[in-house]
């Protein structure tokens, strides 16, 4: 269901054949991933993100930031649920495992959505007040720095 929602949302933005094709591929990969393995689900998420980017590029409409935040939450939760599904396969589930996971995903979705909205607000305010030259170059450097920062943050020596 989550995969269908992720694949369907770009079609609402730009109902084009190319978007539909990518959506079908993403959905097929996610479906196969449920049966065969997590790498296919990750591939499906990557294709769905490409589909979303293509839909945005084709539509050329003003930014829909709330939808984007929800899409991001959806992609993350899709990957986490698929991975949990694989871990829970052929295993005895203790009492409250599924309920606590669902609570966690709901909380994570709410926090991530709120964080994204706060980030949108801060970015909108900043972009309205400050006009920075070479904005694309700065965005690229910022993206690279964000990834490096995340990589450093999650890197922890093994014990």
């Amino acid at each position: 269901m989550l995969a269908c929602a992720l694949v369907g949302y770009p079609l609402l933005i730009a109902p084009a054949t190319s978007v539909l094709t990518l959506g079908v591929v993403a959905l097929a990969l996610c479906g196969l991933g449920v049966l065969l393995g997590m790498p296919l689900v990750v591939g499906g998420a990557v294709v769905a993100l490409g589909e979303y980017a293509l839909a945005l590029w084709l539509a050329g409409s003003p930014p829909r930031l709330v939808g984007a935040a929800l899409f991001g939450v959806g992609v993350t939760v899709l990957l986490q649920t698929a991975d949990f599904g694989w871990r829970a396969r052929r295993a005895t589930l203790g009492p409250g495992v599924v309920a606590s996971q669902i609570r966690y995903w709901a909380l994570f979705g709410a926090v991530a959505g709120a964080t994204a909205l706060v980030a949108i607000g801060v970015a909108s305010a900043a972009s309205a007040s400050v006009r920075v030259p070479w904005a694309p170059a700065l965005a690229t450097v910022g993206a690279a720095l964000a990834l490096v920062a995340v990589a450093f943050a999650v890197r922890r020596p093994e014990r």
Binding site: V46, L49, L65, G72, L79, T92, A146
Partner: protein
């Protein structure tokens, strides 16, 4: 505990990087916003995980079972500290098969919580099973970070060979002096009536045959046949095996030996066991329930063992191989050394019968059907028939047993072969 990032963390990083690349190239702000939850998920893993604190205890429904029986394994997990998601996995040896539940479990534990996890295993092959190494993996809720460790809560299971019910057994040619179930021609103390003779002083009153005494007007007593037992030696061939576990020729031989030992002991015979695996390993003949346990324990450890030693059967002590004993050799006749030992025994005057679990159907079942396998099996059958005939010419009764068929049917054939052999003499 060894902690590491999971493949999911790498996957999420990849998706995030892909989103940022798309954002830069498309120049759309939405794609940056899409990446924000992804980055947030990764940043959550940067928190130091709590030190795991839990303990595991094992309990099994029975520590001694027979093949085919089931055992319930109960694992109790007690958490000292809250555990977000604990994955436990207990690898099982090939002799055990999970029939209900799973040998892997996922648990969420609160502080001081106690969780019981049960699964049932079927014991498919005899042997001593030592288990108890539990692999534990402690996940964070997002599944991005995991700590691994192995805990030991040892438990041991003894799986004895299944005992097939037998009603008719090959009778021994000679009996021993102890009381048993075989009616001897000689008269004495027993319960099987034999002859009637005139009463003489010293006879017991309870032996007086009152019907005959009244008819002839003088006292007569009933004589009874002696009831004797026999020594039965089961000689097990573990020099070589064929087929796929748990249905190899050695497995079939051991099941047959267990069934024969149980049946002969039930008839008050003394049963001994000689395992020929290059050197000899033996259990002295005896009777009783304790001895039954001894034999099953010996069968539990019987297996094919490579050895450069090849002992002669003459080295087996007389107390282990009594001269009057019936020797039932259980062998798939794969190794010429066992045949030589059997011929040697027969030449020394032992009452020898050979029960040969056929390796051909076992190998045929273990391999995919093909013309070459079929041809090989037919040639093998011819070779086995020739070898069996050679043993028959030496006066040794031999019967082939397909382990898929009931053992009783093969034993009836063995009894018939022995009878014909005795008549020919």
């Amino acid at each position: 505990m060894t902690t590491r990032l999971t493949p999911l963390a790498l996957s999420i990083t990849t998706v995030g990087a892909w989103g940022l690349v798309l954002a830069v190239f498309s120049g759309r702000a939405e794609l940056v916003v899409v990446v924000v939850p992804v980055l947030l998920a990764l940043l959550v893993t940067a928190r130091a995980p709590a030190t795991p604190d839990w303990s595991i205890a094992h309990a099994i429904s029975s520590a001694r079972v027979f093949e085919g029986e089931r055992v319930m394994v109960t694992v109790t997990v007690v958490a000292g500290e809250p555990v977000a998601l604990l994955e436990l996995f207990e690898p099982l040896p090939s002799g055990l098969r999970v029939v209900s539940g799973h040998n892997r479990g996922l648990f969420t534990l609160a502080r001081g919580q106690r969780v019981e996890w049960k699964y049932e295993v079927e014991c498919v092959r005899r042997g001593r099973v030592s288990l108890g190494t539990m692999h534990a993996r402690c996940w964070d809720r997002a599944g991005l970070h995991a700590g691994e460790t192995a805990m030991c809560a040892p438990w041991q299971l003894r799986v004895y060979p299944s005992v097939l019910p037998l009603r008719r057994l090959p009778g021994p040619r000679r009996t021993q002096s102890s009381v048993g179930n075989y009616v001897a021609p000689a008269v004495g103390e027993g319960i099987e009536p034999g002859d009637i003779r005139a009463f003489v002083p010293g006879d017991r009153i309870r032996h007086v045959n009152w019907r005959a005494s009244l008819r002839f007007r003088r006292l007569f007593v009933t004589q009874y046949h002696l009831e004797r037992n026999a020594d039965v030696i089961l000689m097990l061939d573990t020099l070589a095996e064929a087929g796929a576990a748990p249905d190899t020729t050695v497995d079939a031989s051991i099941r047959a030996a267990a069934a024969l030992a149980t049946a002969y002991l039930a008839r008050k015979d003394r049963v001994g066991l000689i395992e020929y695996c290059g050197p000899f390993r033996w259990v002295r003949p005896d009777s009783g329930r304790a001895h039954h346990e001894r034999l099953l324990e010996a069968l539990l450890r019987a297996d094919v063992m490579f050895s450069y030693v090849t002992q002669e059967v003459a080295l087996v002590p007389r107390r282990v191989l009594p001269p009057q004993a019936l020797v039932i050799a259980i062998s798939p006749l794969l190794d010429a050394r066992f045949e030589k030992a059997v011929v040697d025994l027969a030449a020394r005057g032992f009452d020898v019968a050979v029960l040969s679990p056929s390796p051909i159907p076992l190998v045929r079942r273990a391999r995919r059907a093909s013309t070459s396998v079929d041809l090989a099996c037919r040639l093998w059958t011819l070779e086995r028939t020739a070898r069996a005939e050679a043993l028959r010419r030496l006066g040794i009764a031999i019967v082939e047993w397909d382990p898929a068929e009931p053992l009783q049917a093969a034993l009836v054939g063995l009894t018939g072969a022995r009878r014909r052999r005795a008549a020919a003499r």
